[in-house]
Each structure stands twice: as structure tokens, then as C-alpha cells.
Assembly symmetry: C2
Homo-oligomer: 487 residues x 2
């Protein structure tokens, strides 16, 4: 009887076509847990965010934000091209080809064309495969994937000026990172892949901006985005991880396109009692979403990885490359490499005996050895070729990481002992690529060139990079997609 | 410093391309909340479920389960046709037409054709618009929407025998309801629209079964489904509510199609420490997923609504229709209608002065009045026409609901006082459509006919119902979709 009552009571509210969140509350019973969020929801968070997105223009962007937006885009194009030949993309292309709509948009680094939703998904997957894309360090969101994948595809369907494109990119990144800030770290800690869950909002906001949605339509686009979070951390280590930013991109387009025809949602999907933030996180800081809109720019805090592996190894690679280049070191000179490291380095990258490229990404021994021999830590340095190289393999055995108190995960203390008795020392407080020591434009070009090498024609690599640097002057941002396909 | 450390530590795990859940755990810091689930995750929940799905066949289904599966499908076809002319579908069709792939599948009640993913979405939306579809009362999941929408579309792309179709439908419903049971009520109470979150699994399982995925591929399909939950309760009352079962259907196809080409996911996406159940719910009862597989069938517990409104009003409508028909009542005979009701009836359906059809769904006064005048509670009885009818409007003023202790939400005690002094009494313990008093096949046909009337040709209504009853004997279930389009 009590059971019957509970079932019917709950069903009563659920089954009501127009049950409001307030009404639904009546359906709660003592049996229900976690029914009520800690605090009453504030008003109009979704609407105020939507108002900002639909009213802000390119001319409102500070120079440093525009500059970082351009760097964000160039880095994204590089990783999207770089990942395009990976088996993950081959499989997804094969699976989706029978269902694709008109050939509206390009795949970076490939020749196939798909409708914009599928193209956004595939380019988003491609750009995340190497985990070599950009990072908003406060939330670990990889901001460009969900946003750039969506709007570059849209620009092939309807021309988008470079200025409008950059403004939409910044607004999309701003939206996803601010929403991510509001729920981070709880939301991430419990298991969500925040790039996919917050990313949908970024894609919907940026696409909606380019579709010129009005405020109400943007509210609905954000609401439909809130209804489609993507990704769990458990999938890390499988193709499912790069699936997440790709699906966030296509879900955001799906949301914005429906909203553009007045497909409705609730007006408070982000902040309502049973809206996104309360349902998906135990922390909600709405000031992170609305505070200093148009003044504080999360999009200006984006960072880029110089090395194609988890950043826990970046300080050591940075130190090794510096000492190698400054001293013109060769492997045969090296007696021993002593590393003082944070415990996480051993926990996450302690693989000593490795046989293939992917294992190299989990071996601090390999990362240091290959950096000393080749002076780099790109995708090529984590290939089967590099791992099987006898010189590098021999040097791996001479690398001695020692967990040392006082060394944090961003740091390393390296001492190279040479056979001639000399000792070379380097302490890294902030590795290259960190917010404190960002990659230079020139370093971004080296990374881009390394990724695109062999995928698009050499002369075209230079032209694509120039087009990215000059995106604001392009009549249509789509030119960059059209230039980035394989020969 | 602590902050920097936390960010980099967390990023380290997040950025590792192959970080496992175990590794990711090292990235947790005291700052992280809700990081650890209550219990250690059990082994192989996803795999054992996948094994069951890929190995069970039509011949394993008990007769009562097959019968309920057929009723589930017939009811779904009726609501899918019935909702097809709603503005919500018109808008979605207009928004998605430019992006649709080949015209692979039909829209019920309409003439357009879309690729199977978009068709599944649109039919899923159509079938939920009136909140008139089926209900698994233990979880409030509307099981057919996500599953039937997906596999009927697939059957138009690759022929599916009626027996295989019914088996896939039952397995899909079984999968979503068992996964729903594992996290209900906590998962629903906090704000998730469980039809969309559990429904993705049902669609992926059913589509994967028809694609003949092997066990590992089915594990991946369930993993990719886990990565795409859909829907928040805050959206109830907007078009976004019917969006959810539709998107669950298309997301499930997307997951299964990728898995069929060996797009990988984690092997433990349902049960792992940072898998679906721990991330999306504070309750996880894995025995609900794996217990008595192939013996206990949630699919046999499906129920269907006789009235096109929230079930809180169903007992009163049931009583009114019974007393009207037994006594050949006309409105002019009625002096007063006294109702003893549960508080929820007033809370959710207490609207007294109403002007349009939709408001009628929230007015116990209208529901009783129209049931007494027209002997029904279908979509037509909640139209503007019915609400504006003077006879019905006059009778609404004579309906007196009184909250009475001891009357639960499934019950009503109705006394009709006639002008000639007679009193007619009816106590309803379980309304028609409840699990204790299911709709008969004949009542399902009346509901179907009422929904399809005016949308598909009258003679075709009979033929479609016959085809549904005989689905197990059809060489290709797709025939039913082809018969159900508008003239």
C-alpha cells in the first residue's frame, strides 16, 4: 500500500504534461533522497547568460582575449589535423557515413565531407585523440574541441566572417569554462568528463550566436544543451574519451538548431531546483557564471601542451630538452639521469619496460630518454619507432626518478651525470605550456607543423597557419576548413 | 601553491590519454567532494548484462512477456501517430530537415522520411508529446519511446523479422527498466528525467541486438550509451520533455552503430567507480540489473494510460465514466458531484477557472465534468473545444473535490447527487490502467483509434492495429511503419 502510494504519487507528477518543478516537488516523499539542493536556486542565471551571449560583439573583446582566441583556434586546427588519421576517426567515419546528411562540411586532414553535425562530431573526436589539445587549467576543460568543431562546420554551411567567428569562439569558450567553474571540482571528482558536460553549452552558445538567436531562443538552446551532457571519466583510456568533445559539439548544434525554430525548453535549466547544476553537481557557484561578464575572460586563461602526453611528465621533458640543447648532449655522453619528482609521476607514468608507442606516454623513463635524444616530446616521440629505438631504449635504463617531498606535480629537479664526471642541473618550477610559462606563437607553429606533417601538403601547412593567425581578416572562416583537408 | 598543485594534479590524470579509473583515483585530493562512491564497484555488471542481451532469443521469452511486448508496441504506435501533428514535431522536422541523411525511415502519422537516427528522434518526440504513452510504474520510465522509436526505424533500413523485433523490444525495455530500478528513486528525485537517462541504454541494447553485436561490442554500445544521458525534470512543461525520449532513441542508435565498427569504450561503464551509476545517482542496486535475468521480466510490468492526463486524475475519471454509463446519465440530471481525494489531486490539478484545452489537464473539475458528459478522457476531452463547451463548463462548477484522509493517490470516492434526489456512489481502489487493473486489449484499441482518427485513413487504422497484434508473424516489422504514415 505504501509502495503503491509512492509509485502513484511519483507517477502523478512525472506523468503530468505540464508539471512544473514546483509541482514536481510535491511528488517527493520521505523515501526520496537528495531531492532538495543545498540552497534555493537564484533567479535568471540562464537568461542573464543568454542575454550576454546574444548582445556581446567582436568589438567588445579586449586585445589579449582576441589574441588568445586566435592561439586557441590555431592550436585546435593543428590537433584536429594531427588526429585525423587515427583509427578512432576511421571507425567513426565508417560507422556514420550511411547516415550523414548533405556534404556540408569538411573533415580536417581527410577528404570525406559530412553534414555539419556529423562533421563537428568527427572533427571534435580527431582533435582530442592525442590528448594534445588546449586546457583551461581551472577546470581541466579542453575548451576548443566542442566549440571550434561546431562553428567551423557551420561556417561551411553559412559564411561567417572571421571576426564573427572569433567572437563566437570566445563566447563559446567563455560559456563552457564559466559553467565548468560553477560546478568544479565536485562535478569532475564524482566522475563526469567536464569537457563533454560543460562543452555542450559552449557549442550551443557559439552556434546560437552565429545563428543570431534572440535572447529567448538562446535560453532554450542552453536548456536543450543542459539536457544533453556527455561523458564519464571511466571511459578514459578508450576511444570513448575523444568521443566526448565530439558529441558535445554535435549536441550543441542540435540544441541551437532546434531553438532557432522555437523548440522550447525551461527558462531556468541551469539554475532551477531540478536544473543542470543541482542535478549534476553538489557544488553550484553561480557567480562563476555571471560575475564580471564581459570584464573577466576565462577564454584568456587557455593553455596549450608542448608535449603529447599527460602534463605530469612535462616538467621533466622540459628540463631534458633544455639541458640537451644548451649542452649539445648526445646519448653516449650520459652516465645517469637523476630526477626529483612528485609521487604522481611514478603513480601515473611509472612504466619501465615498454614495447610500444602508447606505453611511452606512461613512462617517465621513455619521456626523458627520448627528449634527451631527439630534443622533443611530440606525437612522433611516443611512436612505436621511438620506443623501439635501441639508443633511446638503452638511455631509458639510466633514468632514475625519485619521489621527493617539496616537489609538486608542476615541478621537477633534474641532474644529468655525464661519463666525463660533469653534472648538469636544471630545476623547473613551471614547465613550458603552463599558465605561468605559456608556449610562444613560434612554439605553437612548431607543434602545428609537427602534427600536420605528412597529412596535408607541406606548403599548405604554412598557408593554414597564416590563415589562422589572420582569421579576423577572413571574409569567411570556412576557408581554413577547406584548406585543411588532405591532398 | 596548494591550488596550483591541485590543478596540475587533477589535470595530470585528466590529460593522460590512457589514464584508467584506478589511476584517475590518484588524482583525487581532500579538496574533492563526492569523489568516492558508498561501496566498491562490483565486477562485470556491464559485461554480464551485455552477455544476456546478445545471447537471449525470442524463444526464451515467456508467453506473458511476449504478449505485454505486443501491447507495449501497439500502444506506442498509437501515441506516435497521435502526437505527430503537434507543433513540437512540426518545429523539429523543420529544424532537422537540412541535416538529415538518406530518407531511410518513416515518420508515424506524417509523410516526411529521415535517416534512421533523425527518424527515431522525431518519432520518439511524437510518442511522448501527450504524456499518454506507457509507464513502468516502479521507475516512472516510459519504456517504449526510446526503444521502439529506434528499432522500428532500423527495421526500415535492414529488414527485421517480427519475432526478432519483439525480442529486441523486450530486451531494450528490460535493459532500461532494470538500470532504472538500480538507481531509482534517488536518481529521479535529484532531477534526472529517467526516461531519457535510462532510455539510452534501452535503445542501444535493442539496436545492438538487431545489429548482432558480439558481447564485447555490446559492452561498448552500453558504454557509449552511458556517456549520453538525456533529460532533466526542470524541462517538464516545455517541448524539451518530449525531446528526451526522442534523443535517447537516437543516442542509442549512435552508440550501437559506432560499437558495431569496434569503436571502444570502457568495459565497466555502468558499475565502475567513476562509471554511470556512481556518477549519476547516490543509489546503486546492481542486483536490480543482473538479478534473475531471463526469469524476472520488468517488461511484463508495463502499463498504459486510458486517459490523456496525469494519473492523479485517473481514479475520478474512471468513477465518472462508470457511473455515467451504468446510469445513462446526462448533465442536466446532475445536482452535485462530491469527490473524496488525495491532497495531490488538489495540488496538481486544482485549476477551477480554465479557458483552454491544456489547462483542462490540470483541472479535476474539468476531468470529471467532461467524463460525465462524454464518457471518456482522451486527448479530445482535453481540447479547447471540450473546455469551452457550455454544458461541460456548467457541470465543472458542480464538482466538489474534498481532501480526505485514508484516500491514497490511486483512489477516489465519488458520490453523484441527482436532481431527483438519488445518490450514485462509486469507490475506486485501483483505476483502470493501473498494474492491478490493466487496460484490456479492446480498451487499447479504443485509445489507438481515438489517437489515429483523422491522421491516418480510417480503414488503415484497423489494418495497423491488426499488424501490431500480429507483429510476431510479420516477415519485416517495417511494414507497420510504412502503413502508419499519413495519406
Amino acid at each position: 500500500m505504501a509502495i503503491t502510494d509512492r509509485r502513484t504519487v511519483l507517477q502523478a507528477a512525472a506523468a503530468l504534461p505540464l508539471a512544473t518543478a514546483a509541482n514536481a516537488a510535491f511528488a517527493q516523499t520521505p523515501g526520496g533522497t537528495a531531492a532538495a539542493p543545498a540552497k534555493p536556486a537564484p533567479k535568471d542565471v540562464t537568461r542573464e547568460l543568454a542575454h550576454y551571449i546574444v548582445t556581446s560583439s567582436y568589438d567588445d573583446l579586449p586585445a589579449n582575449v582576441r589574441k588568445e582566441g586566435v592561439r586557441t583556434f590555431l592550436n585546435w586546427v593543428g590537433v584536429a589535423i594531427g588526429g585525423s588519421r587515427h583509427q578512432t576517426v576511421d571507425i567513426a567515419v565508417a560507422a556514420l557515413t550511411p547516415f550523414s546528411g548533405p556534404a556540408q562540411a569538411s573533415l580536417f586532414g581527410r577528404r570525406e565531407r559530412f553534414d555539419i553535425m556529423n562533421a563537428a562530431f568527427l572533427n571534435g573526436v580527431s582533435s582530442h585523440i592525442f590528448d594534445y589539445d588546449d586546457t583551461h587549467l581551472k577546470t581541466i576543460i579542453h575548451p576548443a574541441g566542442p566549440v571550434a568543431s561546431a562553428i567551423i562546420a557551420l561556417s561551411e554551411l553559412q559564411p561567417v566572417s572571421g571576426k564573427d567567428f572569433l567572437n563566437a569562439l570566445v563566447l563559446g569558450v567563455e560559456t563552457e569554462c564559466r559553467i565548468g567553474n560553477a560546478v568544479y571540482p565536485n562535478h569532475y571528482d564524482v566522475g563526469w568528463h567536464i569537457t563533454g558536460t560543460a562543452g555542450v553549452f559552449g557549442s550551443a552558445a557559439a552556434v546560437g550566436k552565429l545563428l543570431k538567436l534572440n535572447e529567448q531562443q538562446m535560453v532554450w538552446a542552453l536548456g536543450l544543451a543542459a539536457s544533453q551532457p556527455v561523458g564519464l571519466r571511466e571511459s578514459f583510456g578508450s576511444m570513448n574519451k575523444s568521443f566526448n568533445p565530439g558529441r558535445a559539439a554535435s549536441n550543441g548544434i542540435f540544441a541551437a538548431m532546434l531553438a532557432s525554430k522555437n523548440f522550447t525548453s525551461s527558462d531556468g535549466m541551469i539554475e532551477a531546483k531540478r536544473g543542470w547544476a543541482n542535478t549534476i553537481s553538489t557544488k553550484q557557484d553561480y557567480n562563476e557564471i555571471l560575475g564580471d561578464l564581459g570584464k573577466r575572460y576565462e577564454a584568456a586563461l587557455n593553455t596549450y601542451k608542448p608535449f603529447a602526453c599527460g602534463i605530469v611528465m612535462h616538467p621533466a621533458i622540459d628540463a631534458a630538452v633544455q639541458l640537451r640543447n644548451e649542452n649539445k648532449l648526445t646519448a653516449d655522453q650520459i652516465e645517469r639521469v637523476d630526477l626529483k619528482v612528485h609521487p604522481l609521476v611514478i603513480e601515473l607514468t611509472g612504466k619501465k619496460n615498454i614495447r610500444e608507442g602508447l606505453e611511452g606516454k606512461f613512462s617517465i623513463y621513455h619521456a626523458v630518454a627520448v627528449a634527451l635524444v631527439e630534443g622533443a616530446g611530440g606525437e612522433k616521440q611516443f611512436s612505436d619507432r621511438a620506443v623501439k629505438d635501441p639508443t633511446i631504449a638503452a638511455l631509458r635504463a639510466k633514468v632514475n626518478p625519485v619521489v621527493t617531498p617539496g616537489i609538486d606535480a608542476a615541478q621537477v629537479d633534474m641532474t644529468i651525470v655525464l661519463k666525463d664526471g660533469r653534472q648538469l642541473h636544471r630545476y623547473i618550477e613551471h614547465a613550458i605550456g603552463s599558465i605561468e610559462k605559456p608556449m610562444t606563437d613560434q612554439q605553437l607553429e612548431v607543434k602545428f607543423t609537427d602534427l600536420a606533417d605528412g597529412i596535408i601538403p607541406a606548403p599548405m601547412i604554412r598557408r593554414v597557419m597564416d590563415a589562422c593567425w589572420n582569421v579576423e581578416s577572413l571574409p569567411n572562416a570556412a576557408e581554413i576548413a577547406k584548406m585543411s583537408v588532405s591532398a
